[in-house]
Amino acid sequence: MNVPTNYVVALSAVLFTIGVVGVLIRRNAILAFMSVELMLNAANLAFIAYARALQDMSGQVFVFFVIAVAAAEVAVGLALIVAIFKTKHSIDVDELSSLKG
C-alpha cells in the first residue's frame, strides 16, 4: 500500500482519541475496557506504520508485546469486573464512588 505514513499515523491518532473519549464517557466498565483496547490498537497501528516506513521489524515485535499485554489486562480486568459484579450487581463505574474526598 502506497500511502504516506503520516496518514496512517493520523488515523491511529483519531482512533486513539476515540478510545480516550470512550473511557471518559461510557459508564459501563466493559465499554471502558473496550475503549482501552481501542487505544492500544491505535498505538499498534502507529507501530506498524512506522515499522513499515522505517523498514524496522522492531515495530512489529512491539505490537506483539502490546497484544500480549492487552490480553493480560483483559484477563485481569474482566476477572475484576466479574468479582465486582458479584458483590455490587452492577458494572457502572460511576457507582464505584464510595471512596472519595
Binding site: 500500500m1 502506497n2 500511502v3 505514513t5 503520516n6 496518514y7 496512517v8 499515523v9 493520523a10 488515523l11 491518532a13 483519531v14 482512533l15 482519541t17 478510545g19 480516550v20 473519549v21 470512550g22 464517557i25 461510557r26 459508564r27 459501563n28 466498565a29 466493559i30 465499554l31 475496557f33 473496550m34 483496547e37 499498534n44 497501528l45 506498524i48 506504520a49 515499522a51 513499515r52 516506513a53 522505517l54 523498514q55 521489524m57 522492531s58 512489529q60 515485535v61 505490537v63 508485546f65 497484544i67 500480549a68 499485554v69 492487552a70 490480553a71 493480560a72 483483559v74 484477563a75 474482566l78 476477572a79 475484576l80 469486573i81 466479574v82 468479582a83 458494572i91 457502572d92 460511576d94
Partner: protein, 172 residues
Amino acid sequence: MTTDLAVFLFLAAIAILAAISMLFARNSVYSALFLVLNLATVAVLYLLLNAAFIAMVQVTVYTGAIMVLFLFVIMLLGSQQAGTGPDLPWQMPVAITLGLALMATLVYALLGRPSLALASQAVLQGFGSPQAVGELLFSRYLLPFEATSVLLLAAMVGAIALTRDEPEGKPR
C-alpha cells in the same frame, strides 16, 4: 488519488465509524461487535502495511480470543444496558472537548511531519514474516519476551485470585 490512497481512506472511514459506533452504541453487545469490526479493519491495514504475521495475531488473539471473552462476560453478567441514571454533569461535553483538542493537536502535529513515504522503499525480503518476527523475539527482544511470559503468568494468577471462591475465608 491513487488506488492505495482510496483503499486506505475507505478502510480508515470504516475503522473510525466502527469506533464511533462502538462508543455510542446503546447495547454493549453491539459495541463489542463494532470493536471487532474495527479490529478487523485495522488488521487489514496491517496486512497492507506488510505485517502479515501481526495481522494474523490481531485476528486470532484480539478478535478471536479477547473479544469473545468480552462478549462472554457481557452475556454472563447480563449487563448489556448498564448505566441508566443521570450522567455525571459536564462529563460528556468536557471529555469530548478535551478529546477533540487532543485529536487536533495530535493530528496537526503528525500530519505536519516530514513525510515518511512508503512507496519509494522496496520492502525487504521476508519483512513481517513470522520467521523474521520470531528471530527478533528470540535474539534482540529475548528479555522483553521473557518478561511477557512472566506478565502473562502474573495475569493468570491474578485472574484466578480475583475470581476464585473461598468458602473458608472467614475474617478473624
